[in-house]
Subunit: 327 residues, 2 copies
């Protein structure tokens, strides 16, 4: 079992790599090698062992992908992306990475030929959906994105389905909910504040809420997201037919409910460190995002959401304590 | 009013060009020039007048599109495509023309800058939909194509919407029904037999029906299709919001009903010239195609379907007689 992880320096890529190293197995087989790549070399603890190799690669370069894929990994996780906020301002870069990069990967796999048909797990996003939408979005609702990022992810899903249908890859696209609580520093995603309003108050810092607390979101924890990635690699894709992308299960929750959970878990003083400071640009992007789903197909295929938001916060606190203890 | 027609040598491109020449006006303005381009130079009658210019251009060449768009046409009709049957067998060519070609066009428009924002009418197709689908497909149903052609058209729609949202073009995508009766010789479209079974018997030739006569299709005449193109150029796109592609109205009709209409219009002898000769490959492609719609948005926006199939056949007969008289 050889694994390639593209985008391994990102928050989910790192966690996925560490989880795979800890598990030692995937799809019922022992992991022989993990090649973890990103535009910057992914850093892991020095005792990761001989199965892990790290490398740099720019997915806007078709040749770089041909080199990576020439090793014929059995499973490829494609997590590399320019995030929503950046793709909206850096139009060319967003298309180059999110569209051309994904296409280069699919083409690199196809060009190997000789019956090579790896499992390809593609991280899509609920940003493929755009307003107006029904109260709950079901599995047959159209992808009508309202951001360039969402557009690029929707195109990636279409390419993944077509390359799968033609027998070049065995693709699974997973539409990730908004990931909360992201550890570390904010990234350029317009959804960053959903994490900031939990993460910063917990370490004694003030946090800015750029939207009204009535805003509702579809969220999943980093732990749940890594679970989705692993399940997408392990699952029987025969269940999917020709529709290879699935909306992942999540929690539908308002900002006010998130803050209430923070108050329950960490007390009113912590929850009091959030200041409402409206940002019309972020509010406009978020207003077009979907907020509630019937993730029927994904649940039937065995993908599981977090239990509740209190648990998400407690898991984040435990993760941070473990990280501090390790460093 | 300057007009650019890409794909002007095709059946619809020719008719559109001729109709524009006959009308002399578009969007309430006099037509100053029509540039009609295709991979082969489009041929029109010598008395077309000084407004018409023809040229060759390969849309897989980004430079060729930059040259065409540098003239800043007010309205661009983009009809150029590798058809469904060919895109399925010539994988690279399909993506090069149908995806890259469309993207090159959008990029060429964007690169002009200086507030240039032409109306861009993009011919999409109901092949963006794939089985399974409901009895009638409404305007919110997902694009889940089952052919590379449908995939490429769905991607074109996504790009058109994003470039429109960003203010680079004023796009309208029209999802054409299966066009029946196509004049002339069969092309490589898998849907070609829908026209052959009417066209060939009417001129005394045998026709092959490669699918069961219970197969249902969503059809429109060439005349209706040209009407859609002109209306898409003329319409108030403010009605569309961010969802820039519309399923065009059509007739939902079975092959048996088409043959019955042929019998009514031309007699049993003509209708008897059709032989059922199953072709599993064509049957498989057609089985994945949608067959009935609620084209609510398009109808509300003023797009109009044909009256009935008998009229479609009569129009075809009249067209052919006019063509013979002219030649």
């Amino acid at each position: 079992m050889r694994i390639l992880i593209i985008g391994a320096a990102g928050m989910l890529g790192r966690r996925l790599t560490e989880q795979l190293l800890a598990n030692g197995r995937l799809c019922g087989s022992q992991i022989a090698s993990i090649l973890a790549v990103d535009v910057v070399r992914p850093a892991f603890s020095s005792d990761a062992g001989p199965t892990l190799e790290t490398a740099t690669a720019d997915i806007t370069d078709a040749n770089a992908l041909r080199t990576l894929v020439a090793r014929k990994p059995d499973v490829i996780f494609h997590l590399a992306a320019v995030v929503s906020g950046e793709a909206e301002t850096a139009f060319d870069k967003g298309y180059a990475v999110n569209l051309d990069g994904t296409r280069h990967l699919l083409e690199a796999v196809r060009q190997v030929g000789e019956g090579y048909r790896p499992r390809l797990v593609f991280t899509s996003s609920i940003a493929v959906f755009g307003a107006p939408f029904p109260e709950k979005i079901d599995d047959t609702f159209q992808c009508a994105p309202l951001t360039s990022y969402g557009t690029q992810k929707a195109i990636g899903e279409l390419l993944l389905a077509d390359y799968t249908r033609k027998g070049f890859v065995d693709g699974v696209g997973i539409r990730l909910p908004t990931i909360v609580v992201r550890p570390g520093k904010p990234n350029k995603a317009a959804s960053g504040f959903f994490s900031s309003i939990i993460r910063e108050p917990l370490v004694g810092q003030e946090a800015i809420l750029p939207v009204a607390d009535t805003v509702r979101a579809w969220v999943a924890s980093p732990t749940a997201a890594v679970g989705f990635l692993l399940h997408a690699a392990n699952m029987d894709t025969g269940l999917l037919g020709d529709r290879r992308s699935l909306t992942m299960p999540g929690l539908s929750i308002t900002v006010a409910e998130m803050i209430e959970a923070l108050r329950r878990v960490a007390g009113p003083q912590v929850a009091g460190r959030i200041t409402h400071q409206p940002d019309p640009e972020i509010a406009a992007i978020v207003a077009g995002w979907p907020r509630d789903f019937l993730a029927t197909r994904a649940e039937a295929a065995g993908f599981r959401a977090d239990a509740d938001f209190d648990t998400i916060i407690c898991d984040h606190i435990a993760d941070e304590e473990a990280r501090k203890a390790a460093s």
